[in-house]
């Protein structure tokens, strides 16, 4: 079957939004330094064009840390070249982007292990140790 090419050209000018976002990030980063307060910005709530997004991404760059969460679809989280500024992307099973956020924090909320989960894990680990003791086998 012949494939049909549907070119779509829509003008996407730079809007100056990038400067505004960078200023906002600086304010939040300052707050993080001074009082340890974290902040989250939902990128879909900002009126940025495609080229704005790309420009912001290029400016912030990549740092050393990359985290992938496997949670009914992936979540990809990277620290930008600016420590404390993290770029969070949530995908579903079909690799479609569900949400895109910038978090200003030591580490994004979703990466941290929750205290209740840790207590749970403690309980399970105790059980595992007891079991391996009983059977005398290595678990």
């Amino acid at each position: 079957m012949k494939s049909i090419n549907l070119p779509i050209e829509i003008a996407e000018p730079s809007t100056g939004m990038v400067q505004a976002v960078l200023s906002e990030l600086m304010q939040h980063l300052q707050q993080l330094v001074e009082s340890g307060l974290t902040h989250v910005i939902d990128l879909s709530s900002l009126p940025m064009s495609g080229s704005d997004r790309t420009q912001l991404e290029t400016l912030l760059g990549n740092g050393e840390a990359q985290v992938i969460l496997t949670t009914i679809g992936e979540s990809r989280i990277i620290e930008t070249a600016y420590s404390g500024i993290w770029w969070v992307r949530h995908y579903n099973l079909e690799q479609q982007l569900l949400a895109e956020l910038i978090e200003i924090a030591q580490v994004p909320e979703i990466i941290k292990s929750h205290p209740a989960d840790i207590r749970q894990a403690l309980h399970r680990l105790k059980t595992t140790i007891e079991l391996s003791d009983q059977t005398g086998e290595q678990v």
Binding site: I4, N5, L6, P7, I8, I10, A11, V40, I41, D42, S44, S45, L69, T71, I72, G73, S75, H90, N92, L93, E94, Q96, L97, L98, A99, E100, L101, E109, I110, H114, A116, D117
Partner: protein, 364 residues
């Protein structure tokens, strides 16, 4: 987390981790244009709350709305909503049947009196006492009135429940009406669409469970999803503004992705989230696939003229009316002409020639 009714316990049993849960809340909040802080609040609230009792009544419907919300052939993040609610009654999804099912419904209503959420899909026929759709011998009309009485809120899912939908289309043989026409004393949320987009349904339900009823427009539709028209957010808008329209399907303009106004697109008068949220997990929507919007989330869209006739055309046959009026006018005109002619003839007959002597003058 030993109380099995607490949501977190449920999620634990199902192997849904806290992180997945937070991701779900984050994407719901983002889709509804709520702040990320709201996502956290949503997660907190949903985790500690007792599973919300929901009764789903299906009336004169095609089950498309249930199909849309369950996406039953593939698990998805949206289907998580079913882990936050206790779906105490649903024809298609419940295991029980017959009297046992009706008994379960009545029990849920009694236990959660004043607190359960009633979801309705399908229109309600009221002609001839409502006999055209019954469940367990009870008319839909009676069942709706009975179950709505002790509900906390009513959610009308799909265009049939919200506005009457397909059964209400002319000549409406069953006397189909919407939920809002019957239930007059409870908060109602309309989620129209034929069917509605899955994430729109789950998003609104998630909002109702955590923050209560979202902001609604004059037709009781959540503004977060129905605030804009398709036209407002359509990516083909530049072509409309420049006046570049496809004239027939698969012509040169259509292949270039031009605006579909001339092919009947009802985008300008239709409010829904199709142009931003899209269908099939953001794959595409009708206009992107080259077919005009049919206006399925607006009232009476089945009677709004043909799907392939532009909004600027008349509904019905204007050419025929004009032709009929022309014939009638000509007939009346001939009648009038006959009367005028006979009047003229009378005047001419009575005309008397006047000479200057009659007027009392001379020739000088």
């Amino acid at each position: 987390m030993s109380d099995n009714n607490l949501l977190a316990g449920e999620l634990e049993r199902l192997g849904i981790t806290r992180r997945t849960f937070l991701k779900f809340c984050t994407s719901m909040a983002s889709a509804m244009a709520l702040s990320p802080a709201a996502a956290l609040a949503m997660a907190e609230k949903l985790a500690t709350v007792k599973r919300q009792s929901v009764i789903w009544l299906s009336f004169q419907e095609c089950t498309g709305c249930t199909e849309s919300i369950t996406r039953s052939h593939k698990p998805s993040l949206e289907s998580l909503i079913f882990d936050f609610i206790s779906l105490d009654y649903h024809h298609t999804l419940q295991a029980a049947s017959g009297d046992a099912a009706e008994l379960a419904r009545e029990q849920a209503m009694h236990e959660n009196q004043g607190k359960y959420i009633l979801i309705v899909d399908g229109s309600i026929p009221i002609k001839d006492g409502g006999v055209y759709s019954t469940i367990a011998g009870m008319t839909n009309l009676d069942m709706l009135q009975q179950v709505a009485k002790d509900a906390a809120a009513v959610v009308a899912v799909g265009s049939c429940a919200a506005f009457g939908g397909l059964p209400k289309a002319s000549p409406n043989p069953t006397g189909a009406v919407s939920v809002a026409d019957i239930v007059l004393d409870k908060p109602i949320i309309n989620i129209p669409g034929c069917p509605p987009i899955p994430v729109v349904m789950t998003g609104v339900l998630a909002h109702v469970l955590t923050f209560g009823i979202p902001e609604l427009d004059s037709m009781r539709r959540p503004k977060a999803f129905y605030g804009d028209s398709i036209h407002d957010r359509c990516y083909r808008r530049p072509y409309y503004d420049r006046g570049q329209f496809a004239k027939s399907f698969d012509d040169e303009g259509a292949r270039k992705g031009w605006c579909l106004y001339e092919l009947g697109c009802k985008g300008p008068v239709t409010h829904n989230a199709c142009a931003t949220v899209k269908w099939n997990n953001g794959t595409s929507f009708p206009i992107q696939s080259g077919h005009g919007c049919i206006g399925c989330s607006e009232p009476d869209f089945w009677d709004a003229g043909g799907f392939y006739k532009s909004i600027s055309t008349g509904i019905g046959e204007p050419g025929q009316w004009a032709a009929g009026a022309l014939a009638a006018g000509a007939a009346a005109g001939l009648g009038s002409a006959y009367l005028n002619k006979s009047k003229k003839a009378t005047v001419e007959k009575d005309h008397k020639a006047v000479t200057i002597e009659d007027m009392g003058g001379d020739h000088e």
